[in-house]
């Protein structure tokens, strides 16, 4: 039985994340832990970090959290789990910064599910906002980011660029979603240098064909950050599997990651994992 976290910030509730959880539980019983993170306040950020320090990781917890709103969301979560016969736990006793607490939770879980449109949406209009980006960066388990409205994935798009991270994500996906490996699957190799051959093609084909019986391999001669999301336009009902969001400084350049467009423009679930 997999232990899956679903994270909500203090006042926002993601129906999309819960629908994903319900579907997973129908396929194979899970233990879901609702993590209710405290509300954060921009005003405290300005007061505490006026020395020019940037980054949302250090936004302090609101001094007087609206506990009634959080309690209301917890009740909604509990009612949802009971109605759908999902075994659940609730974690909410967070006194410190939100992100370190979430990171600790991910150490002891198989998967984290986050609603891409609702997670700390008060902290920025940009989607995905910086808080969601941080959650992806610092998570110690794979993450599924789901939009509020989407069709449950009937196919997989494995993104491969020859890197350790991209292969790692594919392997983790097969461990966590064995039922989805029988779906139609597209292994996409995309690099901005069109003349380059797919790296280690024999090896990746051998690995992936063991787990995905309905596999198609495709080379895309386009630059991922610019055009991948556009290419996805007609790929509805899919889950994109990506090894982006590593913790190194290079891969933290979120805006250059093609997965941004997947989350922002096409409203399809994305599975993200990094070694």
């Amino acid at each position: 039985m997999n232990k899956i976290l679903v994270a909500f910030d203090g006042t926002h509730f993601s129906e999309g994340a819960l629908n994903f959880i319900r579907n997973r539980n129908e396929i194979s019983k899970i233990l879901v832990t609702g993590v209710f993170l405290p509300k954060l306040d921009f005003a405290d950020l300005r007061r505490s970090y006026s020395d020019g320090m940037i980054g949302p990781l250090f936004i302090p917890v609101e001094e007087k959290p609206d506990s009634s709103e959080i309690e209301k969301n917890i009740l909604r979560f509990e009612a949802f789990c009971i109605k759908n016969q999902i075994e659940f736990r609730v974690h909410r006793d967070f006194e410190n910064f939100a992100m370190p607490e979430l990171k600790k939770e991910t150490r002891f879980a198989h998967l984290l599910v986050i609603g891409s449109e609702s997670f700390y949406k008060n902290l920025g209009t940009e989607e995905p906002n910086e808080y969601l980006q941080d959650a992806l960066h610092s998570s110690e388990c794979p993450v599924v980011v789901v939009p509020e409205k989407y069709e449950f994935p009937q196919s997989n798009i494995l993104t491969y660029d020859g890197s350790e991270a991209s292969v790692y994500a594919i392997k983790q996906f097969t461990y966590l979603f064995p039922d989805m490996t029988t779906n139609n699957t597209l292994l996409v190799y995309a690099r901005d240098h069109s003349d380059k051959e797919m790296p280690d093609e024999i090896y990746i084909e051998e690995l992936v064909s063991r787990s995905f019986p309905n596999l198609t391999i495709m080379k895309l001669n386009l630059e991922p950050a610019k055009y991948f999301a556009r290419w996805l336009s007609d790929k509805k009902s899919a889950m994109v599997i990506s090894g982006s969001y590593g913790r190194s400084s290079f891969s933290s350049l979120f805006k250059k990651s093609f997965i941004t467009g997947v989350i922002k423009d096409h409203k399809i679930p994305a599975f993200i994992s990094h070694p």
Binding site: E140, V167, K171, Y203, I204, L207, P275
Partner: protein, 278 residues
């Protein structure tokens, strides 16, 4: 179906070892790919020049003799491999790697779910010491979990999850529960090494929540003192144990034990050792 890679030393091939690896792979639910480590290239590069300056360089005459000797042994090993597969009806994929064995295994590990190694492979890998297969180097750089198989074939009866609250130790536990779920041992024990003598299990509630989702029952054993000494002591009277170690991380932060301490456990060749790092 999981992709399981077994690194076998081509110049000292052992049919028993192949059968052993195949049995383990079957138990895990994997397809076994055998990587024959022939180690030809590194021999060419590392032959010492017979001059007093001590430098290393290519020496054709000496190398040729060694190379021929090695090729003969590899041919014998290959023949034995095929006859073993035929006799025991093993349908295995074979890959011959002639380069640096450590680099070859690391590359293979990127595209594998698990790498199987015999802890004594480094002792039998080379005609001369310079080119030996370093298990430690493989563990440092492997991009999938590595399962070190003991010389004596025993059924796996117990999982021993070593734990100290670190990401590295928990990552190893998570990977083991996912990849080895078909083994279903009779017993699961968390061995908590209380390095700081706090008397308290780090993140006990979260750990219990995770393990409770996988195992109906599990035991907790707590020990203080030197991790390697304590773990070795704990494993002494537990035949058929599979111990997880979160060591050999690529960053200092993710190292569970000091490297030398992990080495002691590996070198003891007591039980199955499952090592991985985030």
């Amino acid at each position: 179906m999981k992709q399981i890679i077994a690194g076998l030393n081509a110049i000292d091939f052992s049919p028993e070892q192949l059968i052993h690896f195949n049995n383990v792979s079957n138990q895990i639910g994997g397809n076994l790919v055998v990587v024959f480590l022939e180690n030809l290239v590194s021999d060419i590069l590392m032959i010492p020049r017979p001059y007093p300056d001590g430098a290393y360089a290519f020496n054709e005459e000496i190398d040729w003799q060694r190379l021929e000797e090695r090729k003969k042994q590899i041919a014998i090993g290959m023949k034995l491999f095929h006859s073993t597969c035929e006799t025991h009806h093993l349908n295995l994929l074979l890959r011959e790697e002639t380069g640096d064995p450590v680099a070859d295994l690391v590359k293979e590990s990127r595209f594998a779910d698990m790498l199987l190694l015999d802890s004594s492979i480094s002792n039998r890998s080379s005609l001369h010491h310079d080119t030996e297969i370093s298990v430690k180097s493989v563990l440092h750089n492997a991009q999938c979990p590595v399962l070190i198989i003991p010389p004596q074939l025993t059924a796996i009866k117990e999982f021993v999850f070593t734990y100290n609250g670190s990401y590295s130790s928990m990552y190893a536990i998570r990977q083991a529960t996912q990849l080895l779920e078909k083994l279903q041992p009779a017993k699961v024990t968390v061995l908590y090494v209380d390095e700081k003598n706090t008397g308290k299990l780090t993140e006990e509630k979260l750990l219990a929540g995770y393990l409770g989702a996988h195992f109906k029952n599990w035991d907790l054993a707590v020990c203080n003192g030197e991790p390697s000494v304590e773990i070795l002591d704990f494993l002494q009277n537990r035949p058929g144990s599979l111990v997880t170690l979160g060591a050999y991380g690529r960053s200092r932060l993710s190292t569970f034990f000091h490297k030398s301490e992990s080495d002691k456990i590996l070198l003891s060749q007591l039980e199955y050792v499952f090592i991985t790092h985030p």
